[in-house]
Symmetry: D2
Amino acid sequence: MSSTYGEHLKLSIFGQSHGAAIGMTLDGIPAGLAVDAERLQAFLNRRAPGQADFATPRKEEDKPEFLAGIVNGFTCGAPIAAIIHNTNTRSGDYANLKDCPRPGHADLTAQLKYGGYQDAAGGGHFSGRLTAPLCIAGGLCMQWLEKMGVRIAAHITMCGSVTDNPIFLDWAKPDLDAIGKDFPVLNPKAGEEMRAAIAKAKANGDSVGGLIECVITGLPAGLGEPMFGGMEGRIAQIVYGIPAVKGLEFGTGFSGSYMRGSENNDSYCIEDGHVRTKRNYAGGILGGITNGMPLVFQAAIKPTPSIAKPQQSISLSRMQTQTLQIQGRHDPCIVPRAVPVIEAAAAIAVYDAYLSQTNRR
Amino acid sequence: MSSTYGEHLKLSIFGQSHGAAIGMTLDGIPAGLAVDAERLQAFLNRRAPGQADFATPRKEEDKPEFLAGIVNGFTCGAPIAAIIHNTNTRSGDYANLKDCPRPGHADLTAQLKYGGYQDAAGGGHFSGRLTAPLCIAGGLCMQWLEKMGVRIAAHITMCGSVTDNPIFLDWAKPDLDAIGKDFPVLNPKAGEEMRAAIAKAKANGDSVGGLIECVITGLPAGLGEPMFGGMEGRIAQIVYGIPAVKGLEFGTGFSGSYMRGSENNDSYCIEDGHVRTKRNYAGGILGGITNGMPLVFQAAIKPTPSIAKPQQSISLSRMQTQTLQIQGRHDPCIVPRAVPVIEAAAAIAVYDAYLSQTNRR
Amino acid sequence: MSSTYGEHLKLSIFGQSHGAAIGMTLDGIPAGLAVDAERLQAFLNRRAPGQADFATPRKEEDKPEFLAGIVNGFTCGAPIAAIIHNTNTRSGDYANLKDCPRPGHADLTAQLKYGGYQDAAGGGHFSGRLTAPLCIAGGLCMQWLEKMGVRIAAHITMCGSVTDNPIFLDWAKPDLDAIGKDFPVLNPKAGEEMRAAIAKAKANGDSVGGLIECVITGLPAGLGEPMFGGMEGRIAQIVYGIPAVKGLEFGTGFSGSYMRGSENNDSYCIEDGHVRTKRNYAGGILGGITNGMPLVFQAAIKPTPSIAKPQQSISLSRMQTQTLQIQGRHDPCIVPRAVPVIEAAAAIAVYDAYLSQTNRR
Amino acid sequence: MSSTYGEHLKLSIFGQSHGAAIGMTLDGIPAGLAVDAERLQAFLNRRAPGQADFATPRKEEDKPEFLAGIVNGFTCGAPIAAIIHNTNTRSGDYANLKDCPRPGHADLTAQLKYGGYQDAAGGGHFSGRLTAPLCIAGGLCMQWLEKMGVRIAAHITMCGSVTDNPIFLDWAKPDLDAIGKDFPVLNPKAGEEMRAAIAKAKANGDSVGGLIECVITGLPAGLGEPMFGGMEGRIAQIVYGIPAVKGLEFGTGFSGSYMRGSENNDSYCIEDGHVRTKRNYAGGILGGITNGMPLVFQAAIKPTPSIAKPQQSISLSRMQTQTLQIQGRHDPCIVPRAVPVIEAAAAIAVYDAYLSQTNRR
């Protein structure tokens, strides 16, 4: 485990925020799959910082350099390796974080676990920057899934306490193209309010969190395995690897727990000669296995812990409380940038489940 | 993956609801650990059916027979294997489920995946009965964790739309002994109302779901690994292996997404010479790694899909809709019985994380 | 790892020689595969003790009881579990082995590793008896491979310093039916001499070892993965799990190291429209991947360490040398009984490689 | 599996011979371990080509660039990533190898497996060049093992049919410093004859193979797990990942199979208050677990398949035989360069076994 994911695929993520480079290796990919570098770059740009008012003004290029596994635009069967060189390295901004950990961050737990040897600069290996290589792997898997008719799209359902409406779970046939290009919501007006809420938090030296719904259409029925190999567990393991995710639900999830069985069960019907469910409260998964309906899940993103407001921390050397004022520029809200990361994680989990299935012959 | 869990531990669960036996093997356990068979049986009895008004009246003995790995009351270093013989096998109750799948169940997905070869009787390998061997493994891990000062306790925070109050997350020092012995809630009055809600659903031929909060105290700081080896992902993979779990959150989870950073961040303080947080909104985990505070998570359990009320299903052979009336006796609510299962899953995940840690020397 | 094997398959072996039962679980098997219980029993009988003059006179039934995973003679997609109850349990024969370890056995290393908690009776988890569940798993995999046109056969090439001739490696098209039914050699005369050598060793209170060659025909080209996923490494990991195996070579192996490249390289030719090699010095594997020729390997089995002759050992409690006279009846040679075990191990490795292959679509 | 190795460690090797870079990621390493870059470079130089008369005259720098996981000369707990840029890329030398595969190489099997998408240049991912990143990982593990008192050393026991004498297996206390610095043999005279044999083969446009013995001293007793987690299987899986290895034996291995039990069993004795064996025919392993004696194994390296002599191959496009004359300069013998690679593989396997052990507390 650790920074390695996958059953058939072996994804390995490496790098620290201010190290020489971040990157990933991805083993277990079939040979002969086309790689569209431009589309991958467009996908990565959705995650990259410095692209909008709500994001950190740090400007970094997330341009992957492929070292291995791709020849003349096709996978060659050998492990894929890609790196992104860090241009923004080793500033002095983080000098005192080993002694005075930021509340809500991994600073303290890294110090306790690694005894001071951890790379504290920029959050080191715990930085959200590590989601860039995750997006390389996910962006590739997404291209290959699309060739099989599978589409993955996520959008913000809540941000800064502003909720969007409707959500994909309510749609019999979700329209993935309805997601806003500038700001990933279904209802543009909700998007405007969310941006206002982010701006307001920023002005207060504070931050906000949100919810992201992800839908996967075109999945064959029968994907996933019983028990610990179920789609929920597979997706959870990788989605919880994204910093700031603290909750995850499938289909009606938490609200389904308040329903009665007769309400939460999806009745079956026949549609175009296929078994379908009338609604999709199960989020496309029964017994851990896809049922042919869209797979729908929602992730809870906590508010960015790095805030400008002074906070109470401690000095580990002096073992006494100390006020901490975090320097540097930070996202007042990472939810918009987390949207493609959630898609990437879902793509990797689904493609791995596809390649791992026992009954594939 | 599939029915196998663990990084250092290798837990394998096998069996079908109405097969000869269900069981588990557990590899990777150190030698010389004491096994208290009586305490294990008492733990298993909390999950066993037929013990209360709200559960199925089927009366089954969940008495494990240890085949290997334990000698004279101590682990011997070899894999542990235990089985529970099924006494309640192959009734005709489930004869038509391959053709007419129960809404909300794995009947359909199993049929689509296994092409009719699956063991449909009693839900086969997808049955909640498979949580019994999970509880054997978890009950053992719990005993060994207790020797290390770790305690795990879960309780119902909501059932049939009745909520309990307070919850562990609100307590600086949660009192695990405050959980009711007859019905696992903190506030006995809420428990009474929950039981009434279950009884009412049952009278209606319906079912209810609920929420379960689990707290783990006494954990050392530094447990868990970065990214995909974080405590959230480890716990999620096993908890989502429990049938009916559709949501999972850590600390403030979904509600934390509605907060601002200044509100959701836990400030640090010094207590008895240790770094602590004033509150525990992070649920004891930062960057995937335990911070020394209690680990707190909440799981969402969907309402039991097997209900007496007629439901719309389909006939797969005739490919047309059909009304289904499920025969047999089913739990109108599995939430109370799921409480020890959640504890067991947490115990396995935590003990595996403990044995897997890189910096253990 | 430990007692768990497989990439796609998850095989778990459990049990101790004199415990309640030994057994195995096998996860990852497709649904709908036929199981011929009679043929499996015939295969297991080849390994069972007490069947011939050269084997131990202990008479044990190796009759598997299937607990899960098989319904009406077909795999159901759930993990397969099978056990063999031990009838021959807990004799006093092994009482002093914790203090006075048998040379060449795991007695000492088990004591050092498990600190006295190990199950010493009959060698515990280190006993050759654990190859019985390996043969259950392997016997099943062999049946499924045969449906795909793959055949696996092993025979003794050397025993008690008597060598058989010719060997499969020398045959362009090895005739697997040429192996003796009573005693697995190609040349019956060599077999008689081997049995005489075993009898002579037994009369001297001593034991002999031998070599086993295994050939796998009908394999598709392209099986196996680069580097650590190569066929050699896959087979080696499971074959070295068989007690007493101390050497393994593929194709010309050790003798190939003495050749020149021009001699050891197999020239290509075309045969019936397929690429073939003129000889098969590579043993059917190039770059870890099958080339369509028979896969051939040879395993070295050490002489049984349990011998009647007095040997010099030590007393661990008194930390001084001590003469050990091993009681009980032991195989003067396990090589004949190891032949089906080698086949079983090969079958599991090959079937796992087949199910794991990346380019299977 | 595939290009990923390890139980606790996760080693991932990537790259193709003529791609942009080759490299490795290594996850699961404790924080705070010192890295001596100079000693690592010295170790890598032992493998690098162009350093002696018997090796290929291609001159490549094997200078690793560390991208992640090491800060100020110490491991930081995050995955280690290192690459070596390829300077010698995409020549035309290999243009026709997809159609006319080299006998003894992976050219054919790669073509059959990957359908022409493989990177054929320089052998692609199957190239011996991929042992350079293996040596980075192994060189690091070796440094950390040395801090624990473990030493690993390999030497040539046979090359070009010339044998060295004595071998480590015969020594009660092997003197690792007795290995020649210029040419890794124990007896310099044998080394001279081996070099002559290599030169002679080269003059004939041919190649030779050899045997390499590796010894590991200072290992604690109790390392390794039963069955598939035994030291033999762990070492075998990684050693067989090295191109050209076709045989592997532990202790007396193949020759031990010709002995009687009374001869092959190592008697116990007491030495300086520790249990030792009088000889070390078991190669330091009993039941898969180290017994405190030096671990000794021998690997068989086949003669380099790339030879200047014309060979019979085929044209895959025309499906007819064709004479192949391999262009370019190739090692007439890779055995000397394989010595540090064997050491590296052993170091990784041993360090992984150390970090994986169940009874480590």
